[in-house]
Structures are given as C-alpha cells and as structure tokens.
Symmetry: C2
C-alpha cells in the first residue's frame, strides 16, 4: 500500500531512517496526471531500488503568469490508485504553502535555458530546478528518474546535480513508443486516422538523421535538412521546429564533435506532437 | 590525524559511508586563515558529533571583481596544523576548478542581501549561498556551525537551509570576546593602546541597548540612539554604521515585535571594528 505523506518533515524523517538502515531510494518527481511515461519511470524506480517514492506537486514556480497553473490537471485520487497498483512505497504530496512558505532566494539557469522550451517559457527551468533541488534534499534518493522526452529538462537537471553536488544518480529513460515508433503522448488521441498513420514520420525522420550520423555526417545543418526533407515528404503536418543542439550542453553547433540532440515539433489539426533523439557515436561505445 | 581530502568524490564517499554506519557529522566551512573564532566552532563541531569536518576553500564566487580574492590570506599548512592540534577528523580542501568546472546556474538572494554587508558587496551572498549549498551536499553534515559575528550570513544560510530543505541543523555560535568584552578579531592588534582601551565601548554600547530592550524599549530608532550616544561619549573612534534590523528577516523595523539585531562598525586609525547583538525578549525563554 502506498503511504501518502504531505509534510516535508515527515518525508525527510522517513527517508533518513530508511537510508540509515541501508535502503536505496528510487525517486520519480511528477506533477501528477500520471500517464504511461510516468509509469515506465516508476517501474524502473521500483525495480532498481529497495524503496520507491513518487512526488505529485504542481510547482507554481515553473509556470509563467500567463500559463495554466490553475488549470493544470489535478487528479490525486486516480494518481494514488496508479501508484498503489504499481507497488510504489511512498507518495509525497505537499501543498504549495508547505513547499514555499517564503521564497527568499531564487535559482537562475543560464544559457542552457535560453533555447527551445526555455526560450518560450522564461523562468520555467528556474522553477523546475528549484523544486527538484528541494525534492532531492527532502526525498534523498539514490537514483532519480526522468524521461528523455524532456531532453532539455534532463540536461538541466543533470547540470544542477553536478553543480550542486547532489549525492545521487540521475537516470534518463528512453522515450516510450507505440509499436510503429510514434512517441507515446496523451495528445495522440487528437490525431485523425490519416494523421495517426503519417505521424510515424516524426520518429522515422530522426532515424534517418541517426543513420546519416552513424555514417559520419557531422554537419548539423545537413542533419537538420535530412529531418526537414523527410518530414515534408512523408507528412502533411506543419513543421513547427527542427532544432539541433550539442547535448547535454544545449549549445548551437555547426560541426558536431560530441553528442548532439535533434528536437522536432510538428503541428497537426488538433495536436502538436514532439519527439527527439540524442545521437552519439556508437563506435565509441 | 586530520585527513586532507581534495576531491568532491572522495569526500562525498567518505561522508556517505560514515553516515551509513550511523555516525553524526559536524561541519565548519571556512576560507582558511583560521583564528580563535574558527577554533571555537571547530571545538563545538568535534564535541557534539562523532566526526568533525572543516573545509578550507577561498570561494571565488563570493568576491566582487574589485575585491581581494587573489590576495586573500592562504596558509593551508598552518591551518592544517591547527586542525590536527584540535583533533579534527577531515580537512576538505578542494581547488576552485574542482568546485566550479562550470557554473551553468546561479543562486540569487533577494531582500535579505540588500542591507548591511550585502548592500556593500553586490553578489557576495549569492556566492556564499552557492558554496555552502555545495558543501552541504558534499559533506552531508548533521550539524553545521557558523559564528554570530557574521549575523547576516548566518540568517541567510538559515533561510537557505529552510528553503532548500537541507537535512541538517545550523548552529550559530556566540561571538568570542576578550575578557573586557571586545569581540576577538585579527584586526585588534592594529589598535593603539588608547584605542584598545576605548574599543570596549562597542560591546558596552550594545549591552546598553540590550538593557533598554529588556526594560521594554521597542522603538528601533531609540535603541539606535542609545548605541550612538554611548559610542560618542566613550570612544573617539569614528562611527561607520549603527543599524537595527528585524532578525532573522533582516528587514527594517520601527516598532520591534520579535527579535532584533543591532550591528555596529567603528573606524579606528588602522582598523575598522565590527560587533553586533541579537536582542530577544528573555522573558519568553
């Protein structure tokens, strides 16, 4: 049975005691409205650690003034049942007042937040880093799990853990896909039948880029063209973004020397789909 | 024998193992050039915990561009001998490159850093909070010791620990004084014989304010006047600052309702002396 904890003090006392007894703790921070992606992370957290903890907290600090903080989906009873069904040991579910009685100092992410999602949502990653920093100190996990679908978030969290010296391992989990390769998303149901068939082009275009990369293509603009051309040819969806950045630095690149990350967004009639791939030289593995 | 550790990884592994075995860790972060004040903190850290750790790190982030980062006194061999003499278990002595290979995000202290020392040194407390945050995650102490001589720093560290939910207790240690009450300082040797005799007026003026406070005086301006008048009467040193702030909020006050903090600075011919007192209603203790 999943235990629901609502105060920082109790959560921290529980994890302190558990760690003192030698237990490892696996942690999945979420904003609730749990879906397949979260469940994949949760199952990994459970299987790789003695104790599994999920947090559900809609973090006001990561929403801009014009964003949907108030309207963000909240369904704690459904979420809790999913955690119970998956055998998660603890649900940390604090109030905003518990987490932020006052905010006398802030964290500011530099250049890594100046591209992609970060460019569109000023201050968003500052809020993400603050809440994850707090949650790490409260839950004290040995391993924390994040999806690679939010690759920029993952890179920024990894940079935070390194800079702040959190004593834990960040584990990035591959994007969960349908059988034909389409990244799972709650938005996929908004696709028409034709769009659903075409939408496989997103992942296919990334695989084309990966093929070229593995064959030695190191020109970022060329890889971008490969993706764009594939998408134009294989789907009528409107290309919203095809971006290539060094990963995990999130810096623009011309000639790729290390890892690179290609992020795409395509707009269909009623859904904007995203996907990404991290390309690394497989010969060095 | 004090063990000198220079890498984050090794220090963190050591404290992780020690904690897993049930040891409590007492920690004193310093910039080296250890004096009586530090030794008082270190002795407390040693006596109250199973393991004692001191860090010596001149933190570049807390120095402004025109400040004395390069010229700050460095005397690691002398410091290490003092730690050995006092039976401290570990000296954490990392390089600036080890601590800050990159700085992809920053911490900004808000209003609490806009007064006193913080007002004179923009960015100073941002750097302090960053390094202490890192050191807490590396050393993982149960108790961390700071002197009340830096009362603003202590208040800001306490606010950080509360906001970031570090799992430890911050312990503020009373100012160490000479027999006549003068706060110990390496700068006291720069006083002439007459100045040295007069310098007791700093603490005496604060005691006068405390006397009035305990007798019910709650007007901040009146307390400030008591200090100023006492200083004018009892020393020829030039009054540089007499400030009254709510503590630990560090906000200006007219009528005092909770704790208050009086900070003074007096300039003598070759030394600027500082002192402070935190006034709290002793009837509530």
């Amino acid at each position: 049975m999943t235990k629901r904890i609502t105060t920082i003090k109790e959560m921290q006392e529980i994890t302190t005691t558990l760690k003192l007894k030698g237990n490892t703790i696996g942690f999945v921070p979420t904003m609730g409205a749990l879906h397949d992606g979260h469940l994949t992370l949760l199952r990994r957290a459970k299987s790789e650690n003695d104790i599994s903890v999920a947090s559900v907290f809609v973090n006001p600090l990561q929403f801009g003034p014009d964003e949907d903080y108030e309207d963000y989906p909240r369904q704690i009873e459904i979420d809790e049942q999913l955690l119970i069904d998956n055998g998660i040991d603890y649900l940390f579910y604090p109030s905003a007042e518990e987490m932020y009685p006052t905010v006398p100092m802030t964290i500011h992410v530099g250049e890594m937040a100046s591209v992609l999602e970060g460019a569109k949502r000023p201050g968003h990653f500052d809020g993400v880093v603050m809440v994850v920093n707090k949650l790490f100190n409260i839950v004290q996990p040995d391993r924390a799990y994040f999806g690679k679908k939010d690759a920029q978030q993952l890179a920024i969290i990894e940079a935070m853990v390194k800079l702040f010296n959190h004593n834990l391992e960040v584990i990035g989990i591959d994007i969960v896909r349908e059988n034909d390769g389409l990244a799972k998303s709650s938005r996929n149901v908004y696709l028409t039948e034709d769009e659903r068939l075409e939408a496989v082009a997103l992942f296919e275009s990334l695989k084309e880029a990966n093929k070229a990369f593995q064959n030695g293509e190191r020109n970022a603009e060329k890889l971008q063209s490969i993706v764009i051309n594939y998408l134009i040819e294989h789907t009528k969806g409107k290309i919203d973004e095809v971006a290539v950045y060094a990963y995990p630095e999130l810096k623009p690149v011309d000639t790729i020397t290390g890892q690179v990350f290609i992020s795409i967004a395509v707009k269909y009639s009623k859904a904007r789909l995203i996907d990404n791939i991290i390309l690394k030289d497989e010969r060095n593995d």
